[in-house]
Symmetry: C2
Subunit: 262 residues, 2 copies
């Protein structure tokens, strides 16, 4: 159980490592930056890093470790093999299992990537008085696979995945301003308005997460989503890819404000 006094990322990671917290990290230790994790063999590390560099909005790079290393620079003392509540193991692009630590899978030839996630800018939107419908409704954010292609790199390719939050036009203007500051956690929206224009047929049927209510006068606003990185990593059908399980992120020592550009 997360104790009432758990207010630091260090303490949360200690609990996770001890097996005392196995659920999602959504909403935990607010203000600390949470990250997507991808681990893959060093032979493909250049091309995966290149994929991220070429697609910075869905795959903003927070930290990349040397082969075999598991202590990130954005959380000294942490161990990426044990400090996330749940991981996914992929073999040849297929999901094989979910596990609570990956010491038996991670090896000297593996490179770890930590990529920004939208929790950081959601806090900033809330602080600006903007609504986050999925939080209001106690759901996961709605995520969709679009018809837009990311720029490929070597064996890695993926459609752009987006998350959606309903806003009035006036709120959308403010949300664009607020999220622009967070270029390391997806930054400004990639689209708003017509879902069809980016290949989304039915807003009520997200590929990931839950559908949320779109109210009268609201338009859907779409941000690039970190799920893109998992699709890209598994697209190459490598012998082994490890990712976090959805919602079970790595919680770093960075504060949200460390990621802003202005």
């Amino acid at each position: 159980m997360i104790r009432k006094g758990t207010t630091s990322a260090v303490e949360l990671r200690r609990l996770i490592r001890a097996g005392e917290w196995k659920q999602t990290t959504t909403g935990l230790v607010p203000g600390f930056v949470q990250a997507n994790l991808v681990m893959l063999p060093k032979e493909q590390a250049f091309h995966f890093l290149l994929f991220c560099v070429r697609n910075p909005k869905p795959c903003p790079i927070l930290d990349v470790l040397e082969p075999g290393q598991f202590e990130p620079s954005i959380a000294r003392g942490a161990d990426l093999r044990t400090d996330l509540p749940k991981y996914r193991i992929y073999e040849k692009g297929e999901l094989r299992k979910e596990v609570e630590e990956v010491k038996d899978f991670f090896h000297e030839g593996m490179v770890s990537f930590l990529l920004g996630c939208s929790f950081s800018f959601e806090s900033a939107m809330l602080a600006s008085g903007l609504p986050i419908r999925n939080i209001e409704e106690g759901k996961n954010v709605s995520m969709y696979v679009t018809s837009r292609r990311c720029v490929s790199a070597g064996p890695f390719s993926s459609p752009l995945v987006v998350s959606m939050r309903p806003l009035t036009p006036q709120q959308a203007v403010r949300a664009i301003q607020v999220t622009t500051r967070f270029h390391l956690t997806h930054g400004a929206p990639v689209h708003f308005g017509s879902p069809e224009e980016i290949g989304i047929k039915n807003l009520n049927r997200p590929e990931f997460g839950d559908p949320v209510t779109l109210r009268q006068g609201e338009i859907p606003v779409f941000w690039a989503c970190g799920v893109t990185s998992a699709l890209a990593a598994t697209s190459a059908r490598l012998p082994l890819v490890i990712t976090h399980a959805p919602g079970h992120m790595f919680v770093s020592d960075l504060k949200d404000e460390d990621l802003t550009i202005l």
Copy 2:
């Protein structure tokens, strides 16, 4: 000779490729983004890309090509082996020669990196009515090796190199605003005021470029400088590294405004 009608990057690259322009690209085809070039063996490409990702202010990534490729995405039809006026060839970290094209050196196992340079934000500073002393005095910008270390990656390490422009405090405030928009061409300054604080002993003795006049009431303002990338690339003493010769940049089809974040 550059003809009076040479106003596009495509035309300038054609002249360079034909051997009709062999001098620096400083001030040519204003508004088009110019870039630092580094080419090195693919075995070290992951770690060099990682060095750039870890040090985005001195080494902002504009384009990285697949091994063996020489047509960048930011200038379709261009050839990085021939379209710069002058190149430097390094073997085991030592400068071996300067050449006008590198078809005889570049091979299938080489990866090309294009990194942002400060020409883009200088145009924006001038447009805002800010002085660029080195341009006023017809000199190269002053560049200094600082006591700050970049974050290393694999075999690549380097001190941070900075460029300096004298400004009044009021001008410096405006310059910070203006250059913040250009995060892909070094962004906001890394320091202003006391040169000693970053290990610069004598402003009149820059390691690269020329000294410029610091007038009464002005302070030195320091920006991260792309020369850092050449020092890092040659620090690893690889069998072969190719860079542009100083001031002889690659001129892309990107416009300065394409690089802004706001």
